[in-house]
């Protein structure tokens, strides 16, 4: 039985081979975002999202090239053809959906608040009273903080990258950071993070701003690529590849969300 399966697989691969087009440029943000994607000292990018993109590309039988692009220009880069897909932890929001097309979600984690241990900050408008907040520029977390916390907070500072806001949090320049819970976790587990700060909980949900999970960004006219990506995501979820690649990073919980 195994032999027939193998034969069938090779036949399918042989038939699919001519469909392999030129490589797709998969855009990630040039700013590191551990544990999803970050560079090591030799310039190779690794992380959960890199593994996910590789698995997705393998599933839809396409050649993919990871292409870092500055986050604040990533949507224009997609629309002008510099990259072909965005796999950069980009949340599916209405505003963005006006510019590009999104695939089905491939993970969904709440927006949380981490704060300095000595403060009493809680993830609500009352709990943020008088605090200095840090957010990452161009993210849903920034939009959320400006929409919900701008009166209560003393100041909301927009940092170019997550690393910089965490650095300032450790330095004590800001009291709390609003961001993706998973992206903030590696910091809390590090020595610097453990010493200074703790996780205070998730903010109240607001789907109009926070969106409904993270999806692959595609150009609006690439409709068949969209279909392929969606079927690829569904296939990865079903055949266990998703759980397998998530285990080394997120043991114990499913980041797909409900």
């Amino acid at each position: 039985m195994f032999k027939t399966l193998a034969l069938a697989a090779t036949a399918a691969a042989a038939l699919a081979a001519p469909a392999l087009a030129e490589p797709y440029k998969v855009g990630i943000a040039a700013e590191p975002y551990p544990p999803f994607y970050s560079p090591d000292s030799s310039g190779n990018w690794s992380g959960w999202e890199i593994d996910f993109a590789d698995a997705l590309c393998a599933e839809i039988e396409a050649d993919c090239v990871i292409t870092p692009v500055a986050w604040d220009g990533i949507i224009p880069a997609l629309n002008t053809g510099k990259i072909d897909m965005i796999v950069a932890s980009m949340s599916i929001t209405e505003e963005r959906a006006k510019q590009i097309a999104f695939s089905d979600k491939y993970y969904d984690t709440p927006t949380g608040v981490i704060a300095l241990k000595e403060t009493e900050i809680q993830p609500s408008a009352e709990g943020i009273e008088g605090a200095y907040l840090g957010v990452s520029v161009g993210t849903i977390h920034e939009t959320y903080a400006r929409a919900h916390f701008s009166e209560a907070a003393a100041d909301i500072r927009s940092y170019p990258t997550v690393d910089e806001e965490l650095q300032d949090l450790a330095a004590g320049r800001i009291d709390a950071v609003v961001g993706d819970m998973l992206a903030l976790m590696p910091f809390l587990e590090s020595d610097a993070g453990e010493a200074c700060c703790e996780y205070r909980g998730a903010v109240e949900s607001d789907p109009s701003i926070l969106g409904n999970g993270v999806g692959v960004g595609l150009r609006k006219e690439d409709t068949d690529l969209l279909e392929r990506v969606n079927s690829g995501i569904a296939a990865i979820r079903e055949n266990g590849t998703y759980d397998a690649l998530s285990k080394p990073y997120f043991a114990g919980f499913d980041i797909y969300g409900s």
Binding site: K25, A30, P32, S38, P39, D40, S41, S42, G43, P68, V69, A70, W71, G73, P76, T80, G81, K82, T161, D163, E164, Q167, A170, S190, A192
Partner: protein, 239 residues
């Protein structure tokens, strides 16, 4: 506190970031050199347009240099990056070919070159005007074509006058490559920030990057001073 700094992070191979810093440094030098050369070409074209071109050409060159001198380099680089690549793609599409993808190095060189070209135009214009007109008239009287006059008389004669300005422009080019970090090009400053963020050793890496830039500046200074002395031989001492 000195002993708390982990100098092994600067090691040349992984997990040290020294190799990455040097690679970024090389990239910066490539960007600066390419942009500088492109700037020289644009500057020569611009200077001849301003001095010998018709009225329209002169005004266009004037607008170009005005734009470069009045608007911050960072904003110009953003503009050239988006407009430049967009225009190129549209041009390609108009000719029926699909958009070519300019790699990071070429885009960076294009961007720096366009900014440098604006300043270089002014430097060359001043230098050409400093050439004694008698020399150019003599060459024309001998029957040389305008291009030959330019090549044989004007350019060699204006070189010593242009050198101080061009030396300054090289320094500006090397430092402007750092601005490309804000746009996301991988060069020394961006790699330094990534290394510092990954290891949380900000002081160490920014200091190391500063030393690399300083080394480049000082070595360039020595080289340019030698060049200036060579170019000025036979001329009266500079004022």
């Amino acid at each position: 506190m000195i002993d708390a700094i982990d100098f092994s992070l600067l090691a040349l191979t992984s997990p040290g970031w020294g190799g990455a810093l040097l690679a970024g440094f090389l990239r910066s030098v490539e960007l600066a050199a390419g942009g500088y050369l492109l700037g020289i070409v644009i500057g020569l074209i611009g200077a001849t347009a301003k001095l010998y071109g018709g009225r329209v050409l002169r005004d266009i060159a004037e607008i170009y240099t005005l734009l470069i001198r009045a608007v911050p380099e960072l904003v110009l680089m953003l503009l050239f990056y988006y407009v430049g690549t967009d225009l190129l793609n549209q041009l390609m599409a108009a000719f029926g070919r699909e958009g070519i993808d300019i790699d990071g190095l070429s885009a960076g060189i294009l961007v720096i070159g366009l900014v440098q070209g604006g300043y270089a135009t002014e430097v060359f214009r001043g230098a050409i005007r400093a050439v004694p007109p008698g020399q150019i008239e003599a060459a024309q009287a001998l029957g040389m074509s305008p291009f030959r006059v330019l090549r044989r008389v004007t350019l060699p004669a204006m070189a010593p006058h242009a050198l101080p300005g061009m030396a300054n422009l090289w320094m500006i080019a090397t430092k402007d490559t750092a601005l490309l970090a804000v746009i996301g090009f991988s060069e020394l400053t961006l790699v330094t920030k990534q290394a510092a963020a990954a290891t949380r050793e900000y002081f160490l890496f920014f200091f190391a990057a500063g030393l690399l830039y300083l080394a480049l500046t000082l070595i360039s200074n020595l080289g340019l001073r030698w060049l200036e002395r060579r170019a000025r031989r036979g001329l009266p001492a500079a004022a």
